[in-house]
Symmetry: C2
Subunit: 788 residues, 2 copies
């Protein structure tokens, strides 16, 4: 999905610009209602556009804040103990279901991949044994072409959001950004089938990222999220219809996905915590852990079944994928030098990979802009190139005689897996490059991680392997199929690690296989910039606890080196897509700006009265794109003992709730405040959780236009606010810490005539790039004061 990315911060690509202009023409902000009093050269632009799948879409924020209006309070007060218990029980049941379904789907994907790729490889080996090399090549390429085209056609024509890993979008969702069509049923199905196709086709991509996305899709569907047309709406799920609960469930889904991908339950939890989630609490830690525990139980159960040979070519593997526990690790003080070296090189290579991948994605973007056929052709070209390389390159390697200490059945092999592939070699010899290339990616990692096999790989073969996987890793990621980043990076890293191990052979006594593991870890840290979660994932993948201290060192060094060059790969993708992700740390220059200055650069805030005319509500909804409106009452006598009239800030009302009122035609013939029972007769809290309907669908008659609406019972009376003198830095901390969608700015002055609301800030207003474009002088100080 990165293929049509756009650098949000830089000059836009022509087609995108055209669409933006188009949107701006229709942009109701330019309407007279909201025109600023003073003409400014620059205003704070906050058009929330992002690249989703193939097209540029409007992005909305999620409502993570508790909307405390009268209906919510009543609903919450009237819940019986049984209903509360039902809700708690539901939360855990759904967490369990997420784990269960993710585990089952992950197993099915694994089964499908191992069988499809397995039978394909067996057929190829049969052709080679008959020395029908050209037929083998054609067969290999054709099957891969077919598998890739299934994946690509599905992604291009049915669910463009299913392409790529999906992890950046999940990260954005948990940050509060609702990427459209990201977690629907279609996306889920395309992702599953596409992932099977792409991985079996031998493309240089993993199923790990897609599994994380699959877990999140399942979670979102169970939490009644996703696009309206395919949403699950069950009565027993009715308490589970808000963004906050869905957020928690999607966190569980993401952890389950990682757990299913790497069979690493603790690693999954930590991955969600370190990389994906924005908000976190202890209770969530526990529920996520429960989900991953369920996944592990499911995986174990399937492995038990498959061990009895009922899964075709699947069956090996066990609970730990790349086991290196059979080597004992004893360090000497001198081993610190290669370890540091691996870390530094991993950091350098990782940041270089990020840099080049960024360029490639921008290039792919240009190609993909040309249309769906171009996207498809790009994918198919990559498939053919990959097939030819994987098949052809092993012919470059010379045959190596088998080690005599090995049994005849182990070397050479012609079966599905095996560490010493015969390929084109005579009996008693093996082709080390075929061992690495002509196999599934999982087996390739297993082979290169293999321990106590010091002399197995020729340096030249390793170099070819490293080079080809660098190229494939760069050109494959951006194509229109579901693709994970983990495995390509592990393959690249293990190759360079093992090469370094060969170079250091005379110097240390660390096993060659461990060098491969450390190399993979360092490149992961250098590119993805995770530490604790990667450490635990590697621990759980390799089943060797004694490796822990050096893995930690390598990860820390690689991350530090990488961070000094560029941001992590996920941040680069987020930026490319233009998703309005809010970072944890405000920029230093944000301390020099107050929220009032920020609000001044925006069109003035549009407020509504507590009891408002229908015509005004309709006008405001039609002429603005705001999603929240402050509700203000005039002429109120405050209880301070003085006979004065004041204006009162009553709260904030959401656009969706106004639309609901108009759709349900809850109008009053006279201007009066309603009683609590009146609103409860018309609305339930479940109604308010709906996001459906737009103002365009609402039909209001001329008579109704003159009637009134009492907004009080639907207004969130407890919005989070800041005083106008608040610095943007601290406002942003608040915005992110409590997960806001709208933040009201109240005046610091107290006097008659001062409006009770100065402005309103949203996610877009707090993004560094948007602020800098409105306040260019800050950009100048920025360069000087960088660092924190």
């Amino acid at each position: 999905m990165e293929e049509n990315s756009k650098q949000y911060a830089e000059t836009a690509i022509p087609q995108v610009e055209a669409e933006t202009v188009d949107l701006e023409e229709r942009d109701p902000e330019s309407n007279s209602l909201t025109r600023p009093l003073l003409k400014r050269n620059r205003t704070l632009s906050s058009s929330p556009l992002a690249i989703v799948g193939t097209k540029v879409s409007h992005i909305e924020s999620l409502d993570y804040e508790i909307n405390e209006n009268d209906l919510f309070k009543h609903d919450w007060r009237s819940r019986s103990r049984a209903q509360v218990l039902q809700y708690v029980f539901l939360k855990w049941t759904l967490a369990c279901l997420v784990g269960l379904l993710t585990g089952i789907i992950a197993t099915l994907i694994n089964l499908a991949v191992e069988n499809i790729a397995g039978y394909k490889l067996l057929a190829v080996v049969a052709y080679i044994e008959q020395e029908r090399y050209i037929t083998g090549l054609i067969y290999f390429t054709a099957v891969n072409f077919l598998l890739t085209s299934v994946a690509a056609v599905l992604c291009v024509f049915f669910a463009p959001t299913a392409a790529g890993p999906g992890i950046p979008e999940i990260k954005a969702y948990l940050n509060g950004v609702d990427t459209p069509d990201m977690f629907g049923a279609t996306t889920l199905i395309v992702k599953i089938i596409g992932s099977i196709g792409a991985v079996s086709a031998g493309l240089d991509l993993g199923k790990e990222g897609p599994l994380v996305h699959i877990g999140s899709c399942i979670a979102s569907l169970l939490g009644q999220g996703g696009p309206d047309n395919h949403r699950i709406k069950w009565r027993w799920l009715r308490y589970f219809n808000n963004d906050r609960d869905r957020r928690d469930l999607i966190t569980c889904g993401a952890s389950s996905g990682v757990c299913a991908a790497f069979r690493a339950p603790v690693g999954g939890v930590l991955f969600a915590l370190e990389e994906v989630a924005t908000w976190w609490r202890s209770a969530l830690l526990w529920r996520t852990f429960f989900s991953t525990a369920v996944v592990v139980v499911v995986l174990r159960a399937f492995i038990e079944i498959c061990n009895n040979g009922q899964c075709g070519l699947f069956g090996r593997g066990g609970l730990i994928m790349f086991d290196v526990s059979n080597v004992s690790v004893r360090y000497r003080a001198m081993d610190i030098i290669p370890v540091v070296l691996i870390g530094i090189i991993g950091g350098l290579l990782g940041s270089l990979y990020n840099h080049v991948l960024h360029k490639v994605l921008r290039l792919y973007n240009l190609i993909n802009q040309k249309g769906k056929i171009h996207k498809l052709l790009l994918s198919l070209f990559v498939s053919i190139f990959t097939s030819v390389c994987l098949y052809g390159l092993p012919f470059l390697a010379s045959c190596t005689p088998c080690d005599n200490s090995l049994p005849d059945s182990a070397c050479p092999t012609n079966g599905r897996s095996g560490n010493y592939k015969q390929f084109n070699c005579p009996k008693g010899y093996y082709n080390d490059l075929a061992t690495l290339l002509l196999t599934t990616n999982d087996d390739a990692v297993r082979n290169i991680f293999s321990t106590n096999t010091a002399g197995e790989y020729n340096p030249v073969s390793l170099l070819i392997f490293f080079a080809i996987y660098c190229i494939l890793g760069l050109i494959t990621f951006g194509i229109a199929v579901p693709s994970g980043l983990f495995l390509p990076i592990i393959l690249m890293g293990s190759a360079y690690g093992r090469l370094l191990g060969l170079a250091m052979k005379s110097y240390t006594n660390i096993d060659q296989g461990l060098y491969a593991v450390l190399g993979a870890a360092s490149l992961m840290a250098g590119s993805m910039r995770m530490t604790v979660s990667l450490c635990v994932i590697f621990l759980e993948l390799t089943n060797n606890l004694l490796l822990l201290p050096i893995t930690m060192m390598v990860l820390l060094i690689a991350k530090t080196v990488g961070d000094s060059f560029n941001p992590s790969i996920y941040e680069i993708i987020l930026e490319l897509k233009g998703l309005p992700f809010l970072d944890a740390n405000p920029e230093p220059w944000m301390r020099n700006l107050t929220v009032a200055e920020l609000a001044d650069a925006k069109p003035p805030v549009v407020t509504l009265h507590g009891v408002e005319k229908v015509s005004r509500v309709v006008e405001v909804l039609k002429n603005t794109t705001h999603n929240g409106f402050p509700v203000v009452d005039d002429g109120v006598v405050p209880p301070v003992g003085l006979p004065i009239e004041a204006t009162e800030l009553h709260g904030l009302i959401l656009r969706t709730h106004l639309v609901q009122v108009l759709k349900k035609k809850w109008f009053l013939s006279e201007k009066r405040r309603t009683e609590e029972w009146e609103v409860r007769e018309k609305f339930t809290s479940v109604d308010l959780a709906e996001r459906e309907g737009t103002i365009e669908e609402v039909v209001v008659t001329r008579d109704e236009m003159d009637m009134y609406i009492d907004l009080h019972p639907l207004t969130n009376t407890t919005p989070y606010t800041v005083v106008e003198s608040m610095s943007v830095a601290k406002a942003m901390v608040l915005f992110r810490a409590v997960g806001l969608r709208h933040m009201l700015i109240v005046p610091k002055y107290e006097a008659a005539g001062v409006p009770p609301i100065v402005g309103i800030l949203t996610r877009q207003d707090l993004r560094a790039h948007n602020i800098l474009s409105a306040f260019p002088h800050l950009a100048r100080s920025k360069s000087r004061e960088k660092g924190h």
Copy 2:
């Protein structure tokens, strides 16, 4: 330190009450200045008292909020790139130093304990070999008595805060509560020596909790925290003098402590994350991980040295303490039943333990109130009781013949460690109870975790072991020595696990040692209610990754069962001590109350003018105990285009800064606002970081009283605020999420005559118990609406 705990929420113990009354007599809140306008039956009491060490102390909150006043902004703007780099470098250097020092001290403690306890046990074994049983008893008891008295005397007379584990106080510190004398140099030294004494004395306590406290003390001292008299003040540390940086460093210290205690680097990070820390961010995860990595490197280096036999009786152990990796784990579906059973029983026993320990601590409290000698006598009594039990009980066990398959050197043994102790048995026989009791606690765990030793322990012996450790675990924790909770619970849990394993012997093929491990895990989860961190700690302790799925199951079940009875043991201790810890989740009934109602129940807020008379500042400081005062300007013309006069909320000024102004006598002869350079001539941002000095120390002459102070440059212009209609629930979420000390309440009305500030809330005001005592009607709805 729990020995003098007090249930804050219930009737106070006489002596404490006396002190409280005494404090209230001196309480300046009863002064006319702050007397409420309306007489209320109940007001929101927020006297911040807690039990610290032996005495009741006033507790202050920490300033985790960034104090954005003119000086801070200037200081921050004027920092050069080099200074910023220096600051970043310093942060990492200190994190490294914390790990380094914690690792070294942990090793030294281990060395000391193993040697002292080792030589003691060798001497006892020698007496027993000579059948001089009474002499052995006397020697054993006397040495233990001596060691205990060293620990207890130090704790009672020099650093009462060093008693107990210290983890609850660290938890409170990271939540924003500054427990006095908790992280000083004296505490550190007493904790180290006391811990060595108490553990070598064979008391039923661990060095794990104290190590966490030691790590935090080191961190606090390096971060220039701690009591003023022993604080480290180095010039190169001057940028590192605020509560926020100290908080991060203490988090590193706590992780390092856990890591050093269990040799579990990832477990340490997760423990800090799950149990100890209140605020967390990705960057901190990384730094904490770095600290624990350093600890592991230090530990490994020492183990390498000790393996060469240079550490006396220390030397075994390796990086993993209780290794059970030599058993292969293969589950059948039926194994689920014992696993679930262990979890349920663990949860029940854990919550029962919490319940009984709570009662015991309250009883000890009464004893300890009587004076220091009583505290000392209690500790010494427990020591004698423990010694007699440990020595005497093995005589009850019958001798078991050695298994013939074992070599002669392995059974029976008379050395320092060993799994088959001869004790009083004839040659060829061993005493299984002596193997468990007459050894160090670490060795006892190692022996009971030992795998592939199915028939080693007699059920009767295990039952005796379990019973005596239940009793010891309850009576030992509250005495005045540094004591950790982990090891007692592990001992109890492993005994019951192994008992259950014996009972299930015919049913499953899970190893007896694994039953012990699972039992220990279940009791930990049942009492401490952690999941992920315990799981990883057990993983790293036992070095068996295949145990992971069942450990997860056991932990989840035990925690769920335990949670349905009572809170975790740390929460119980926090409550007993009266530390104002803010929970993550607001109580449901807090939605029914607004912050304005809460503010109404407090004395009216005391505000200062932007340019204020010295006499008024002195009066306010002397007559209130508030630590922050809103600064309000009258007669300001707001820039709204209207010729009106308004009152302006300028911000919040801290008491410490007012005291600094008075001490430095920065007075103005006329009423005017100052220029920025004027304040910079007098104050640096380092000055403002000081918390020293009280109003009583300040001498102001009569002439000076008539002068003025310009408070503007020292006022935090960006305090976090809420509107008066905000619900207490959401206000509390904000308070905790951004780590506040003071939260200002602004009015929702806008009119002349409305004060620009409605009230001020602190941590104490938001505590459920305090609110309920002022609003008793909420307590009634509470019982109905419990649950979340």
